[in-house]
Amino acid sequence: MTTHKHIHLSVILLLFVCTASMAQNTRQSLLLNLGYYNDNNYMQYLKATAKAKINGKFQVIPGVPVSFYIAQVADENLLGKAVTDVYGEAALPIPAMARTLWNSGPKQTFLAVSTPYAGYESAQTDLDITKAKLKIDTAAGRKIIVTLVQLQDSTWTAVKGADVKVAVKRLGGDLNAGETPTYTTDSLGSVNVDFQRENLPGDASGHLVLIAKVEDNDVCGNLSKEYTVPWGVPSSYKTSFNERTLYARRGKSPVWLEIMGYSIVAVVWIVLFYLMGQIFKIKRMGRQPFNG
């Protein structure tokens, strides 16, 4: 009976130790997503997002070191390294050193690799991108023409059936330029949008910034292009704030208000200087003979 008890105990202990050691070695899986961005056909960068399932929900993981490669994972193809921020994102501009590989063909593969980090497994993801660009032009009658082209062999050809957002850039986000936010490109790779934002405040000269975007496209990635048009209403900010308040910028507040403020300080300090003068008076009196 005692031998059985010992066997049971040993089995339980062994199971516990195994479970504990397994638990220590268990790492949570990490999900890496990779995106390609090309802003204004000028700035190209990659952005990796690290996520993991925590309590049944996907949550972003900050602090994950990510290495970016072009073509394949090899030291000579390393584009650079970045660490995910509080949003779980790590971004890396494509460096000039990758020019030769980038120019070697119309398509390119990018890879993002993370090493094991803080209880998370290593992860790898790749992304195939075809070089593409957006063009914006305008036509009479306030029409916007956006064209999406991609590189095939050595020629730029139209991309048909891609979704393109056309908007006016505003401070808090993008405002639809036409009736709908998104349009699909035709056989010429173009979308034609009638600008329908009359009397929209622009800058001091009435300029508005149009923006066309392709987002999360399987072939082209994320593209954007901006174009300035004089279709807005010139805006000028008028306020009488500076003419009426003490809080106005230096030299702009009403003189009588400043005089009031400074004179309060001045009166107190005049009293203080008067009292300091009294000390000298007492001192002078002390030099005169007195038999007290």
């Binding site: 509080v86 949003y87 003490l246 809080y247 106005a248 230096r250 507040s253 400043e258 403020g261 400074y262 300080v265 107190v268 300090w269 009293v271 203080l272 008067y274 009292l275 300091m276 009294q278 000390i279 008076k281 007492i282 001192k283 009196m285 002390g286 030099r287 005169q288 007195f290 007290g292």
Partner: protein
């Protein structure tokens, strides 16, 4: 007046060398100040990164300390000015204690605000590029003004005492200083007249300036639109709290100097009794403003202020909040409301409770609001969501408090802590009414 009595008063009130306890006290304060300086040197070399202050809590214990110093400095105007103008003579032995507390506190307030600046080398910009429109400049102006008034209010009543100090100790350690500061005092009627007039002008001037200094300090908060600070009650709330902490500080100092210099004949039980009554009155007044400050918003529980108020009443800050309220107001009232509680030792304990509770009260005013912005904190590192001072902040804050006590201690070593000439004059008037 009998010369024997006069000489006895002078002998009793002349400054004395430190005994062993005094040296130990001085040494401890010096060590605390040096530790604070070391911590500040680290902060200077590494920047404000060594503190726990981040994007949200950008005002930590430095600003709590600043408000505390400004508050305690107001005691100079209460004891010296208000009681003098109302012809209250029993406060004469306490005037200099109150004034030196005021000068030491306002000096440390000016220092700690520079410590709070990440780049102290840019302090002069406040003077060269200061705008009258900024509450910060109001503070710079009133602190500088209050400092000078307090210095003058300390100096003018000292003038008659310099003559006595030089007469009775012509070759003492500080005789050169006494000679420089007051050898010209001959006690002539002309000098006495000018001196009395100057003191009268000062006590009238210091009251609005003292009110301004703490009102402006309260406006540093109240002109900012934040939960807990967005209040029209703040000026009066700060002033009443400042008078309370100042009076509590005087109770402590009265007891300490009485014990250290055997001043039982000059700082009597009557003084504790009367100061105790004043503290009770001020504690009740401050309690009233606290009720105004918290009950009205709590009754409405506006959405933006709800988290802040719940945090204070029953959340993370509740232990500190209730400790501050009980320690700075309820317990002192309970102790001092009874005659036995107004005896020296219980009164000292009550004063100590007021001062400790008031320090934490300032912390409660500054920090919880900063942790409850109107817009929710999102996507920020965990360290931004709470605040606990680093050792550097503690060392600097404690060092600055020690510096205030050190200034008071040094003053008491050099100058008479009770006005000698004034005590003699009042004794004469008492004997020959």
């Amino acid at each position: 007046m009998d010369n024997i009595i006069k000489n006895k008063i002078i002998e009793d009130l002349l400054p004395r060398r430190f005994g062993n306890k005094g040296k130990l006290w001085f040494g401890i304060l010096l060590v605390l100040c040096i530790t604070g300086l070391v911590a500040y040197a680290r902060q200077l070399s590494k920047g404000l990164e060594v503190t726990a202050m981040r994007d949200y809590v950008s005002w930590g214990i430095y600003i709590s300390n600043f408000v505390f110093f400004v508050a305690i400095s107001l005691v100079g105007s209460l004891i010296t000015a208000v009681l003098r103008l109302t012809d209250v003579h029993w406060s004469t032995p306490l005037t200099r204690i109150a004034e030196i507390i005021a000068v030491a506190a306002i000096t440390c307030a000016a220092v700690i605000i520079v410590v709070d600046m990440g780049r102290p080398d840019r302090f002069y910009n406040l003077f060269t590029h200061g705008r009258l429109q900024s509450p910060i400049i109001w503070d710079v102006i009133v602190i500088t003004t209050y400092f000078f008034i307090s210095i003058l209010l300390l100096y003018f009543p000292l003038l008659p005492d310099f003559r006595l100090l030089l007469k009775h100790n012509p070759k003492g350690a500080f005789s050169k200083l006494y000679r420089f500061l007051g050898s010209f005092w001959t006690n002539s009627p002309g000098q006495i007249k000018i001196n009395e007039r100057a003191i009268n002008i000062l006590v009238i001037t210091i009251i609005p300036v003292a009110f301004s200094i703490h009102t402006v300090t309260s406006w540093l908060f109240a002109t900012t639109y934040r939960p807990g600070w967005d209040s029209t009650n703040f000026g009066a709330y700060f002033i009443s709290g400042a008078f309370l902490v100042g009076a509590g500080g005087v109770l402590m100092a009265m007891y300490a100097f009485r014990r250290a210099y055997n001043l039982e004949k000059y700082i009597t039980g009557q003084h504790f009794d009367k100061m105790g009554r004043i503290v009770v009155m001020l504690a009740l007044l401050y309690l009233y403003f606290n009720i105004n400050e918290f009950l009205v918003p709590a009754f409405k529980m506006k959405k933006a202020e709800r988290d802040y108020l719940i945090g204070l009443f029953a959340g993370d800050f509740a232990p500190l909040f209730w400790f501050a309220i009980v320690c700075s107001m309820f317990l002192p009232i309970v102790i001092l409301i009874f005659k036995k509680g107004r005896r020296p030792l219980p009164a000292f304990i009550a004063g100590l409770l007021v001062v400790i509770g008031s320090w934490f009260k300032r912390y409660i005013i500054v920090t919880p609001t900063l942790l409850h912005p109107f817009l929710p904190m999102r996507d920020v590192p965990g360290s931004y969501r709470h605040y606990f001072p680093t050792w550097e902040e503690w060392a600097i804050a404690i060092g600055s408090l020690a510096a205030m006590l050190l200034l008071i201690t040094i003053f008491a070593r050099i100058f008479p802590i009770i006005p000698i000439q004034e005590t003699i004059t009042e004794t004469e008037q008492h004997d020959n009414p």
